[in-house]
């Protein structure tokens, strides 16, 4: 006959502690893995906008980024941007250049598409629409959240690539054609995958969708 041994109180406490530790460990592992857990979500349908025709919704892995475009500052640039957004060209395009807490850049329609990602040329691709001239004359405050068209080292080479600032960059005024500003969801962009050592990202995050509200 097997003699039953009763647990002492201290053994019970130890067991409970180990169970709680296990729950804590696996629970926190799950939390850490979910980079979007504490990011505030924005539903554009529940928000009111003065000019809904200028509102663009960028959906990325951690949620929506709501951008208000400003056609008064750089009309041709905003026109180009709207055309590309409405045609769905930006969907599944990589954030190929991400500098932690400085900026995120996407929009390489040639070499940055999810199904045709080309690490050798990413960042140099074009759209089928050709380049447009820089629009730099009107004042624009390049604060955190500003959205602008990217270009090569030469002016008048803007096409489809754009960047969003994660910190103020006053020297960008007069250098880049401004498109507008993020009005909700800047924190969502801080969760875009980056590499500490280089600006270009291997296995980058992608734009899920980019749409105009109206």
């Amino acid at each position: 006959m097997i003699k039953k041994i009763k647990q002492t109180i201290s053994e019970k406490i130890l067991l409970t502690f180990l169970i709680l530790l296990g729950i804590g460990f696996f629970g926190s592992y799950g939390l850490i893995k979910n980079k979007c857990l504490f990011v505030k979500k924005y539903d554009p349908q529940k928000l009111k906008f003065e000019k809904p025709e200028n509102i663009a919704i960028l959906n990325v892995p951690c949620g929506n980024v709501i951008i208000e475009l400003n056609p008064n500052v750089a009309p041709n640039s905003v026109k180009r941007f709207k055309i590309l957004i409405r045609s769905g060209e930006y969907n599944n395009v990589a954030f190929h250049r991400v500098i932690k807490n400085v900026l995120v850049q996407a929009g390489d329609l040639e070499f940055g598409k999810k199904d045709n990602l080309n690490y050798s040329y990413i960042g140099t691709g074009k759209s089928s629409l050709g380049t447009i001239d820089s629009e730099l004359d009107k004042p624009f405050d390049f604060k955190k959240g500003s959205v602008a068209l990217a270009r090569t080292s030469e002016k008048n080479t803007e096409d489809s690539q754009f960047f969003i600032l994660l910190k103020d960059a006053p020297l960008f005024e007069g250098e880049y054609s401004p498109l507008g500003k993020v009005i909700y969801g800047l924190d969502v962009l801080k969760k875009i995958k980056y590499n500490d050592k280089v600006e270009f990202v291997l296995r980058p995050d992608f734009i899920n969708s980019f749409k105009m509200l109206k």
Partner: protein, 247 residues
Amino acid sequence: MRLFISTIIILISISSTKADTIYNIIKIPNLEIYKIDNSNGLKYLRATKPFQVGIRNDNVTCFNSDIKNIEKKFQLIQKNLNIYQPNFLKKINLKYIVLCENLSVSEIDAAGVPNFKMKTLIIDINFNKKYFERIVHHEVFHIINDSFKDYFNEKEWKSYNPKNFEYAECSTCTDRINLSTIKKTNGFLTEYSMSTASEDMAEVFSFLVYDKKKVDEKLINDAILKNKTSFIKNNILKISNNFSFSK
């Protein structure tokens, strides 16, 4: 294919990022904004650490400066650069002034390094006090010259010089480096004017802007200098017809 991808990954991993928005624009690392709300649109930046840049082997070197030292020199630099109107600066492609000290190009001391493509002028704030203000304009001329090469034709310029006079092959391969005004000018305001045609033009321009009185005095007995000043004035006025040389 695996080898190719691995090579790209290795290349990306070993190149370090210079992630800042100033570097993004003018390709000089270790800078921060010093003053950007200037009436003529010039943006002043200062080195926070030493930097090395340049097309060939990073041959331009400059060191960060004590903030108090910059404050002392800044008033002088700003006063001199404020004479240039925003439109003129836009035309000549000058927007960023980098302040640092002990500037050198290929280990030879320099007062300034202009780069019109980057719209940048690097200034050594520790350069010889005696000539410092005038030299700021000298360096501005190099930006002007680079932006309007066609206007400042060296062949025409050389034709004004005394017969048999030859410039050196380059400004750093000569010992004609004295910046003091020559008593008997004979076409050259300083010894440094005799180094190269573009340095000669820059010297004439800098005197016209900074010390026009002195040039006017010298012109009376110097026909060569008269031609040279007319050449500079006419071409500068082609760029901006309301440019004022008088101080």
